[in-house]
């Protein structure tokens, strides 16, 4: 299986350093305080945010900050074959924790002590890179819910196959068994809030892959910014707060 042809094209026609087509929509759910759908290529993730509100389980309450409850789930129809996954299968649990950890660094939790913010992430279509798409969707949903954020965290994944560093792996490339590095960062301060990798890489290659992923994150962040700005402006204009 040739993942990168000698001409420099990947299986789907991208070059090694190109992202897939990005798309997002904000405020898609009426009932949620904030919601967003984020799409990277064929990976489509829906995030819904509820809160901040009272903590449901008293003993989980923190006196000095808000707690974030995060649930990650994959829809039964999200992959090629229909498979009913519970929310409690290992992978979903792990990803819930991972996303929660990333969000805890992004949300200004100290501004809302003794409260709880719920983030629900549902994968509608899975084609590689679901965890970073989930983080992106969650951040946009939080922004649309008005939860105070330090920065617009953006996530992107990169891998290494056949001697090439590849950005934004799709499912086929992910399944090739090469290393897969997912990161999320705060673009304004270049701080990483998530760094995960499976498989192994020699150190210098890892640095190259990490740099590529960071560039990818910045590109995603600028896309997210632009869309959020459009959305905010549109709403502001609609209610007359701002002239066109």
């Amino acid at each position: 299986m040739e993942y990168v042809t000698p001409e420099g094209l990947r299986i789907d026609g991208r070059r090694p350093k190109e992202l897939r087509r990005l798309d997002c929509s904000l405020d898609v759910l009426q009932s949620a305080d904030g919601s967003a759908v984020f799409q990277m290529g064929n990976t489509k993730v829906l995030a819904a945010v509820f809160g901040p509100h009272e903590v449901e389980v008293r003993n989980q309450m923190k006196e000095d900050k808000a707690i974030i409850k995060c649930e990650y789930a994959m829809a039964a129809f999200s992959t090629g074959e229909r498979r009913k996954r519970g929310k409690s299968d290992r992978r979903s649990q792990e990803l819930s924790l991972v996303i929660k950890a990333a969000l805890e660094q992004t949300v200004m939790v100290e501004l809302l002590p003794r409260t709880q913010i719920d983030v629900y992430v549902q994968v509608l279509q899975a084609d590689g890179g679901t965890r970073v798409a989930a983080i992106n969707a969650a951040v946009l949903a939080l922004a649309s819910a008005g939860v105070p954020l330090r920065d617009l965290a953006a996530g992107c994944a990169a891998g290494y196959l056949e001697g090439h560093s590849l950005l934004d792996l799709n499912f086929q490339e992910d399944s090739a068994g090469g290393p897969d590095c997912s990161i999320a960062l705060h673009p304004n301060s270049d701080r990483l809030v998530l760094l995960q990798m499976d498989s192994r890489l020699p150190m210098d290659t890892f640095e190259a892959v990490l740099n590529l992923a960071q560039d990818g994150c910045r590109a995603v962040a600028s896309f997210m910014r632009q869309r959020l700005l459009e959305h905010t402006r549109k709403l502001a204009m609609a209610r007359g707060a701002v002239r066109a």
Partner: protein, 231 residues
């Protein structure tokens, strides 16, 4: 200091540099970061004429309590001498039973769980539950107090502000032209609507819900159509 025009901001954006001297008051949604004022929510940044006050106007469905706001709350429970009230905020608010006009130990307001009150936020702090009161400093109720009948409409924070603006919001004016109704707008995104007949109440509620992004002309059309349905 530079005048911040009505600038659309996103979380993490730096709005302006901190002034060398003087006092700058920041409203909700803004905070200082390094030497700048940064936004933590998305919205439009506004500044008053003298530049001493900066605030961010955003649009949320959730309410962050601020002292002095008027809110429409739903009684949740009664603990001892206090009611706990849901004001669509992060925490349940506390409303002392004596904070009503003419209330004494013997004469407590008879409010049950689910009743609506119109109150003001007497104290709001990050770490404590917000304190409500249905009387002002001098003990007068003015418009505050329990709300009977009517229904509760949920709106966003920005729409609530718009509904409280003066001159009155187009939708309220348009409705008022043909209908008789009472409305109490809480800055927490809850609006109480009441009128003589249920049909009217529902109509007013629908009109308010639908009118967030409509221009005055569109609102006229909408209201006209709705009113025509009744009559």
């Amino acid at each position: 200091m530079a005048n911040v025009e009505k600038k659309v901001c996103l979380p993490g954006d730096l709005v302006q540099k901190l002034p060398e001297e003087g006092v700058l008051r920041l409203g909700p949604g803004l905070e200082t970061r390094e030497q700048h004022v940064a936004a933590v929510k998305s919205g439009v940044a506004h500044q008053n004429k003298s530049g001493s006050l900066l605030w961010l106007e955003g649009r949320q469905k959730r309410y962050i309590p601020a002292e002095g706001d008027v809110v429409v709350g739903t009684i949740v429970d009664r603990y001892g001498e206090t009611f706990t009230v849901d004001i669509n905020g992060p925490l349940l608010a506390l409303l002392p039973q004596l904070a009503f006009e003419g209330a004494t130990r013997r004469n407590r307001p008879n409010l049950k769980s689910g009743d609506l009150v119109y109150a003001r936020v007497a104290a709001a702090s990050r770490d404590l539950e917000p304190q409500l009161s249905c009387v002002d400093n001098l003990g007068r109720a003015t418009v505050m107090g329990p709300l009977k009948d009517g229904i509760l409409v949920q709106v966003t924070s920005s729409q609530a502000r718009a509904l409280l603006a003066s001159p009155p919001a187009p939708v309220l004016q348009a409705l008022g032209a043909s209908l008789q109704y009472e409305v109490a707008v809480g800055q927490n995104g809850r609006v109480w609507v009441c009128s003589a007949s249920p049909r009217t109440t529902v109509l007013v509620a629908n009109a308010i819900s639908a009118s967030e992004f409509l221009s005055p002309l569109q609102i006229q059309t909408l209201v006209g159509r709705l009113v025509a349905q009744i009559q």
